[in-house]
Amino acid sequence: MRRLLYILPLAVFVGVAVYFAVGLTKDPRLIPSTLIDQPVPDFDLPPLLTDKPGLKTADLKGEVSLVNVFASWCVRCRVEHPLLMRLAKDGAVPIHGLNWKNKREEAIAWLGELGDPYSRIGYDLENKAGIEWGVYGVPETYVIDREGRIRYKHIGPMFEETWKDILEPLIRELKG
């Protein structure tokens, strides 16, 4: 009993050390979304392009889709762009764009240069919808289910592994 008492401080120390060590392996920039499993927030964005519709809450009901937040000034959006282009070409899943805090002509030029994978693009210069969605950086990608609920949020650029290991299995499951 006495010996246990002497070991207690060491045990507490080890516990705290393990707790902090695990904490250090996590990226503090990844803030978990509060909207997981919640319906898509109310928003209604005008179109970015004249020949492609804008994006609003009702558009996200009825089929499994991705909502990708992007901006032309976002360097890491370039990283994931080829993947988005490929997914759009394969028709894997509809990808809706949310153009965030971006000058219109710059966004249009960016899409002209790199290609446009989006089926709809909402234009959000003033971060109106962005705040509703809890966007705090670009790129961010949300997986929306048939009922129009947010099922997953990916923060930062999507890589091949992100698609293969997380998004594709999830989308397959949601499509049932």
């Binding site: 008492l5 803030i31 979304s33 509060t34 909207l35 927030p41 971060n127 705040i131 809890g134 705090y136």
Partner: protein
């Protein structure tokens, strides 16, 4: 030479006073401010407890980040629309999570954070109290000091003291 030192000292004092007088620079721009001073004061107070999600260790009141500006404007819009302070915070927490608050709320998930230090202190205090009680009891019971040295021990002690004089 002398004069150089005097100038240095004077410079150091001026620098010190300047640093003392400097308050943390707020990032609020004039075009964001509200006309109503009472409302603006509430907005400032609220902003100081809202985390900038881009820079993370700054409040939106301190941060120059673009998103911080958006949130400052949002806070002011909500206040102008008649929200209470609590409603504004709830609005933000609903979208960005508890992390947006610089002072975490007291709830199940944060009990360890709020009460952990107190619990550790109480455990330590209990440990000290037990230790002191045991020692006092040992002293009172006499088993620590009552037993006199045996003749053998007296001799060893004397030898050690002598050795101490010579060697060290």
């Amino acid at each position: 030479m002398r004069r150089g030192v005097a100038v240095n000292v004077f410079g150091a004092i001026v620098l010190g006073l300047t640093l003392l007088a400097a308050s943390p620079a707020a990032a609020v721009l004039p075009d964001e401010m509200l006309g109503d001073p009472a409302l603006e004061a509430r907005a400032r107070a609220l902003s100081q407890n809202i985390r900038c999600l881009v820079c993370q260790n700054q409040s939106i009141d301190d941060s120059n980040a673009d998103l911080a500006r958006d949130l400052r404007i949002l806070v002011r819009q909500r206040l102008t629309a008649g929200d209470s302070d609590q409603q504004v915070l709830d609005y933000l927490v609903k979208r960005y999570g508890d992390f947006v608050l610089l002072k975490p709320r007291v709830r199940g998930a944060t009990y360890v954070l709020w009460f952990g230090p107190l619990a550790l202190f109480l455990m330590g205090a209990l440990g000290v109290a037990l230790f002191l009680r045991n020692r006092r009891r040992a002293v009172a019971g006499g088993d620590a000091i009552a037993a006199p040295l045996s003749a053998d021990e007296e001799r060893r002690l004397a030898r050690l003291i002598d050795d101490g004089d010579r060697d060290i």
